[in-house]
Symmetry: C2
Subunit: 150 residues, 2 copies
DNA sequence: AGTGTGAGTTCCTTGAAGGAACCCCAATTG
DNA sequence: CAATTGGGGTTCCTTCAAGGAACTCACACT
């Protein structure tokens, strides 16, 4: 329900949750990524209430993650990812990766990812942009940044 | 509120949301990561309702992401990350990274990350585990996996 | 004029989040 | 040994969000 406002916290995780932390939001982005870009398509694919879908789409557009644009002379609209939204898909890929590793069970992962660059079916790993080595939660020290609360 | 059950969907993102998709859950994991491992500490740090914190902690323990263990002869408990939970922090790092890039504003990021391996303050990037090159949402083709719905 | 369709709105019901007060247990203190 | 303290929760009530079905609107096609 999240009545508490996460957007005002001095924490990038909380602020990100303010954008995609509500129920359904990540799945809506997944759908747009997968090519379900219209209201009816997303509603049918997810089985989400139309009221909630309207709210979520408006919120994602307000936050600059999606863009609403007409595709017909009739009042018809589709939702497309902005650059900000495309980069947000990294979070979804990390989620998908973890779900594949820990929740897929006997049946195996529901979706596979073929990397265009090498042509292989592969997974993602977090790497340091500086040295290129693996960089996970245990490999870093947290320091106060310039935008830290006083 | 999420009365819809995401856990049963043939989608690793939805299944991951079934574990950490409820309000507060990612922030609770962040706190445990940052060293706030006891009920009172987390409650005070987040300002979350005690009732909801109890529910969330129980849920995370049930899903094997946290472990509840005594640290005193009195009935005192702390919550620690399991291996499954540690790997889930990748998702939080991706969120923090995106928030730093798009939501930090003038003040700059609230937290910086120093990579132990190279000693530099750095960011994370998604790379292909196979070839090591950058691998984002636009760099992959989605294929049906063995666990796909029929 | 009548029909169809995409894209929403309205309205009612159910149930989750907020929040304050209360409870339990074991160790310490007087 | 009674009283106190403090961590770790429950209980209960209020408020507001999610589910879901029905309804509306704007434009194009027949």
């Amino acid at each position: 329900m999240q009545r508490t406002d996460f957007g005002g916290m001095a924490c990038s995780i909380a602020r990100t949750l303010d954008v995609i932390g509500e129920p359904w939001s990540p799945l809506i982005l997944r759908d747009v990524w997968a090519g379900f870009t219209r209201f009816e398509q997303i509603q049918a694919d997810l089985g989400i209430s139309r009221k909630v879908l309207t709210e979520r789409l408006n919120h994602l557009v307000e936050r600059g993650v999606l863009e609403r644009r007409p595709y017909d002379r009739r009042p018809r609209y589709e939702y497309v990812l902005t650059e900000k939204g495309i980069q947000l898909l990294d979070v979804l890929m990390a989620m998908a990766n973890w779900g594949d590793n820990w929740l897929a069970g006997e049946a195996g992962p529901p979706v596979l990812y073929r990397h265009h660059a090498c042509g292989e079916i592969s997974k993602v790993d977090l790497r340091c942009t500086h040295c290129g080595e693996s960089m996970h939660a245990g490999d870093v020290e947290l320091l106060q940044g310039p935008g830290a609360a006083v």
